[in-house]
Amino acid sequence: MNAPQPRAATLGRDRATEQVLSAERLSFAYAKSGTTFEDVSIGIGRREIVCLLGGSGCGKSTLLRVLAGLETARAGTVSFLGQPLNHPHPRSALVFQQASLLPWLNVFDNASFGLDFKHQPAIEASARKARVREALAAVGLAGREQAWPAELSGGQTQRVALARALAREPELLFADEPFSALDAITRAEMQRLLVEVVHRWHAAVLLVTHDIDEAILVADRILLMAGKPGHIHRQWAVDIPHPREDHAEAVTTLRMQILAALRATTEGAAPTLAAAPAPTPTPTHS
């Protein structure tokens, strides 16, 4: 019990310098209900795209909100750029499944919303404008600054939401199933766009999704969350080069591995688990 502790502590400190976010042994429960997740530790490196994959209801969104500082964990710690996190950090940004644009503001004002709030780092008005223009151009909405949200398609509103996040020049972007409400073609476009812009912005991403293909297409690392209470079941480092559509074989292999792991989690702690064939010889248990 005593021996591994100092080691873990120094490991955490070393990592703090290269990691945007590190969470140790988090657990969480909503009032009047059982534990949502337990003993979850996650580190996200600078510029790393991490996908949190899992079936619906396993606690992904809740974990994301805890990591973003919107909810407080019952146990464990979250640190952002080496500092303990109590509130949403000004250098983090969120994108949700619904774009949630404010319908009384035009596209430009939506994308710059919140940049002048009291707890945000002060930026001059001219710099703020430049930032917002750049973000809107990056998501392909240059020239639509004066449009109203009601005039945009679903994909375009989600682009504005992404620009709103980028305008904050985030160190870490939290995205909770940002593309699940979109049609398949728009979704594929947006996945490509996301990878492109976060690379340009030097941002790290925590992307929550229940879509295996989405995770494989964008992630540097995939965390599989499962169980009740939820925990990180397995993880995979993905080093297939972009664009990944061009590496069908590697993608398919990984896809099969993840599917097999998912099947194992749904079969749960049933005794058949031991008897089930283990298709993947290189599991990295977290």
Binding site: F96, L102, F113, G114, H119
Partner: protein, 251 residues
């Protein structure tokens, strides 16, 4: 020609009402000759004279100013209370029965008390109008807060918005449509309460003018004042509806 088609039925309806009015005064005047003064032709003549009379416009101005003051006071009280009701469960539970109780009392019942406490003059009129108008504004505001998109509030929280920023940058703009429909109802109520409220202790305004016309036995003036009240009320409601539609379209 086609442009005026939607006006045909409304104009016919109004014309029919005018005709009924003329026939009724004609029949009644055979028994009670004084009622001939209430005929539409007399009223129309008085109407044309009054709208050219600056004194009449002073009465109208005084009345409209009272409407404005009543509405502003009702907004100043109703919107914050409505937001509090929508935000705080405890506040809502504490106040709902009280509000429902007060709402059902005709504002005019407070008239004697208002005059005793606030004295004769404009103050009790303002009080009665605001008291009548506050309920639709309050109830619509709290309904608006309850229907706010939860994601907007989450967005505000993710930006570490202060309470002030959340209310002024998210909640208030998010419920403008609800407040405006409350305002429209409030204007309707104020306009109805205005005339009786102006019948006590004031010396200007449309309600005062009605009593004054009665005392002067100027019955055509009285009928003309009724026409003016109706027309102004119609215009006010139209303006409120336009404001509401305009806001919806802008979104």
């Amino acid at each position: 020609m086609r442009m005026f088609a939607p006006l045909i039925l409304p104009v016919f309806g109004l014309g029919l009402a005018g005709a009924l009015w003329a026939v009724a005064t004609l029949l009644l005047a055979t028994d009670t000759p004084i009622l001939a003064n209430f005929a539409p032709v007399e009223a129309l003549r008085a109407f044309l004279r009054l709208v050219a009379d600056p004194l009449m416009w002073e009465h109208i101005g005084v009345s409209l100013q009272r409407v404005a003051v009543g509405l502003v006071v009702a907004l100043a009280v109703g919107v914050p209370m409505g937001i509090l009701t929508g935000v705080s469960r405890a506040f809502a539970q504490t106040t709902t029965p009280l509000f429902q109780f007060l709402r059902m009392i005709s504002p005019l019942s407070w008239m004697p008390i208002a005059v005793m406490v606030l004295g004769v003059g404009d103050a009790p009129v303002y009080f009665l109008l605001a008291f009548a108008a506050v309920w639709p504004i309050l109830l619509n505001t709290s309904a608006g807060v309850a229907q706010l998109d939860r994601n907007w509030l989450m967005l505000a929280r993710s930006l570490s918005a202060t309470r002030f920023e959340t209310i002024f940058r998210v909640v208030l703009p998010g419920i403008v449509a609800h407040i405006l429909s409350g305002v429209r109802l409030a204007i309707g109520i104020i306009w109805i309460i205005l005339v009786p409220a102006e019948m006590l202790g004031v010396s200007a305004g449309l309600g005062y003018f009605i009593l004054d016309a009665r005392d002067r036995l100027a019955y055509p003036d009285l009928m003309a004042a009724i026409l003016i009240i109706g027309a102004l009320g119609f215009a006010l409601d139209y303006a409120a509806r336009w404001l509401y539609q305009h806001w919806l379209h802008k979104r």
